[in-house]
């Protein structure tokens, strides 16, 4: 069976006078929509969760709602329990398995296995007790101590549902899927964008991305989640035979737009969070530009922290130009 390249975020750094003088960020990934065009709507609904088995709930829901919208059915914004569960499990994975090694500590594997079960079983009090435990408090402290410099003026994507998105983006195009923009500029999506009303500073530390994910876990654990949080879904007809859905996934905003000719799909657009967060003019490029580059190992570690904070859904590679 042939190998299959699932995609890559490539970060190219140019250094001059011991500083990072240029940053190129690019997301390279297969255009999944190619495999969906020409199939019937029902076939697409079976294919999408197969191709995206990890975020299958979010992708499947986005596909179902976009197709229903293409047939004229609106979905008002609401929290989808299955997608929300998937979002919370991803947040938990990042906090208990990814973050500790990044801070030089051991992954909390047993805690993850137990807490993932609590989320599936709806045991909010148990998760709350874990999030409030001294061990997690120590991890939060280490995270904040490890943070170095604030990100320059982050541009956070405002909240959208499917209907309100039409005013901003009347139609989705292949170019927009590769390089999405808000008012002509890059913007960041994810838990931090969903919680921007809680954020006071105009500059943000990298740790703010991790803390925003933590807050979504805490909101669920305290039964205080809001429509618009991770797991929010909505859909709207764009025109006869054209439907759009929006789903707030763990990594941020996911958009599907489907064009039907009868029962057959003639076009399918998917805009994924990684394309927002790893935009060539986005937060990562701005954050790295001008960083001290005398010690390449230290710089590489800073790149690793910044990429992890933004959480790509594909592998990443660093190249020195």
């Amino acid at each position: 069976m042939p190998n299959f390249d699932t995609g890559c975020v490539r970060v190219r750094l140019t250094c001059a006078d011991d500083l990072v003088s240029a940053v190129q960020v690019g997301s390279e990934r297969p255009d999944v929509a190619l495999a969906l065009r020409g199939h019937t709507a029902d076939q697409a609904l079976q294919l999408v969760p197969l191709l995206f088995a990890l975020c299958g709930e979010a992708q499947a829901r986005a596909g179902i709602l976009a197709l229903a919208a293409a047939r004229g059915e609106e979905c008002v914004p609401r929290l989808d329990p299955s997608v929300q569960c998937e979002v919370l499990r991803e947040h938990l994975w990042h906090w208990l398995l990814d973050l500790p090694p990044l801070l030089g500590e051991k992954a909390l594997q047993h805690e993850f296995v137990t807490a993932a079960g609590w989320i599936e079983e709806g045991r909010r009090d148990e998760l709350h007790a874990l999030l409030a435990s001294p061990r997690i408090a120590a991890l939060r402290l280490r995270l904040q101590q490890a943070d170095e410099s604030p990100s320059p003026q982050p541009r956070l994507l405002p909240p959208f549902d499917a209907r309100s998105s039409l005013a901003e983006w009347p139609r989705l195009t292949a170019g927009f899927c590769r390089l999405p923009d808000w008012c002509g500029n890059a913007a960041e999506t994810g838990a931090i964008a969903r919680q921007q009303q809680r954020i006071e500073n105009s500059t943000l530390l990298l740790s703010a991305r991790w803390l925003a994910r933590f807050d979504e876990l805490l909101d669920w654990a305290t039964d205080d989640e809001q429509v618009g949080a991770g797991g929010a879904v909505s859909a709207t007809p764009v025109a006869p035979g054209i439907g759009r859905s929006l789903v707030e996934t763990a990594r941020g905003l996911l958009m599907h737009e489907v064009v039907l000719d009868g029962e057959r799909i003639t076009d399918y657009m998917i805009v994924a969070p990684t394309e927002w967060n790893f935009h060539p003019q986005g937060m990562l490029a701005n954050h790295l530009l001008g960083q001290e580059a005398r010690n390449r190992d230290a710089l590489q570690q800073r790149v690793r922290h910044a990429v992890a904070a933004l959480d790509p859904c594909v592998r990443w590679e660093l190249e020195w130009v």
Binding site: L34, A35, G38, F52, V113, V314
Partner: protein
């Protein structure tokens, strides 16, 4: 858009396992999968075994990935890659 691939566990040692699939061989952490044995099929994303797969589910995902690879190479008739789906038309 987290694309992953199915792999097969070939050797287990503690919480790690050597897995093979789609031309790759990788050592992966399997602790959160529960009891895991050689021959088990797992879904791998970003170098991590995320969940166990049934034989049928792994075959369906592999076919879908083959179909996507064919589409990326310009093939337009993908029915051969989705035999179960075309029979549902």
């Amino acid at each position: 858009m987290c694309l992953g691939i199915p792999m097969q566990v070939v050797e287990v040692g503690g919480v790690f396992a050597w897995c093979e699939g789609r031309g790759r061989r990788e050592r992966l952490n399997i602790l959160w999968l529960g009891e895991t044995s050689p021959g088990d099929l797992v879904y791998v994303v970003l170098g991590q075994a995320r969940e166990k797969l049934t034989v049928q589910r792994a075959a369906e995902i592999n076919l879908a990935l083959d179909g996507l690879a064919a589409a990326l190479q310009g093939e337009t008739n993908l029915d051969a890659y989705f035999p179960d789906l075309t029979t549902h038309q």
